[in-house]
Amino acid sequence: MQLTLNPDIIACVTGEPTLTELNDIEALDRIYRSRLLRFVAYSTGDPDLAETVVQDCLLKAYNNRDSFRGDCAVYTWLAHIALNLIRDHQRTRKFQFWRKVQKTAPDLSEMSSLLPSRESSPESQMLARERAQQVSVALETLSVNQRTIFLMRFIEEMELQEICEATGMQISTVKTHLHRAVKAVRLKLGGRI
């Protein structure tokens, strides 16, 4: 009798990374596109540029999947690639970067009617939307590093160590950027203390 073993089980036993997602460009797109799109769109302030960066990012990850060693989460690796692509765009399109934000930043108010109604009243929903908009505006005032790290920690919910891996920064630097970003956002939200 011949036994066939699931490759995923073999990978778990041998400790090798499971490359199922990375071997399938459609799976990569399905699982990570939306998440990456949000991160890149709010990092750059340009949803159209974000589309291009995300597409390049997923393609690059797929083409270089053999270089993924599995010592971090796939999303951390993708975020690292996306950051490098954003930096490339910053270098080549610096004059356009983040300046068109007032015209092109994702408009959160468009989505207000689509939100599930968790709030108790229309007033509460409006307040939540205004607060979200205030955070969005506050993000525009941050430096690129502060914004990137704020988004990674509070929106993408990445651990500090993952942020260090994705950005290549020391943990103390990450914390410093995070403290400053939180302070700026607090002020924008009308911090009273």
């Binding site: 596109r33 939306s34 998440r35 799109l37 949000r38 769109a41 709010y42 949803p47 159209d48 589309e51 597409q55 994702p106 408009d107 959160l108 468009e110 989505m111 207000s112 689509l114 939100l115 939540a128 939307r129 607060r131 979200a132 205030q134 955070v135 969005s136 920690r153 509070f154 929106i155 500090l160 914390k175 995070l178 403290h179 939180v182 302070k183 956002v185 607090r186 939200l189 911090g191 009273r192 203390i193």
Partner: protein
């Protein structure tokens, strides 16, 4: 860092609170200080709202089909085709061969043999009238076949009407 707990939280303590790494003394302060508790609730609530709104925005955007840039053929693409080079070489060789041949067999052309532009022959009014009738008939048949979304719904727009006017007579009657 656990100072000022009788006052309010420092920026660092506040960030640690948002990160979920605050020590127990900070948690105890929040229970005692309504101002700090209110602010912590407000900021974390705002970030939560932003997370929710932006996630929905991204999901909607990701669900849209990607906008593919039209594929433009590269400039001078034909330069990269070997067949084009072969064809160009053959054309040059042919042109050179024909040129040499014509020079060797050149016969002077008499001025009388050079073609000159002749005035168009006069057309009789009867022919003009027949041509115009034929054009009108063709125009009418074309208009009868023409249908637009507007006409399909029984709508008639100014643009549609102007387009359906009879074609300008090309030949004066």
């Amino acid at each position: 860092m656990e100072r000022h707990l009788t006052n309010h939280l420092t920026d660092e303590q506040f960030t640690d609170l948002l990160l979920g790494t605050s020590p127990s003394a900070v948690q105890a302060h929040l229970k005692a200080c309504s101002a700090c508790a209110e602010e912590a609730e407000r900021v974390s609530g705002a970030i939560g709202s932003f997370e929710q709104h932006s996630r929905i925005w991204a999901e909607r955007r990701a669900a849209m089909p990607p906008i593919m840039a039209p594929v433009r053929p590269p400039v001078f693409e034909w330069l990269h085709r070997p067949q084009a080079w072969t064809a160009a070489a053959l054309a040059i060789a042919l042109a050179v061969g024909v040129g040499v041949s014509a020079r060797n067999h050149h016969v002077p052309v008499a001025p009388a043999q050079v073609a000159t532009a002749q005035p168009a022959p006069a057309v009789s009014p009867a022919t003009l009238k027949a041509d115009n009738e034929l054009l009108s008939a063709i125009d009418g048949e074309l208009r009868a076949d023409e249908s637009t979304p507007a006409s399909a719904y029984g709508l008639s727009t100014a643009a549609h009407e102007s387009r359906n006017r009879p074609a300008k007579r090309m030949i004066d009657e």
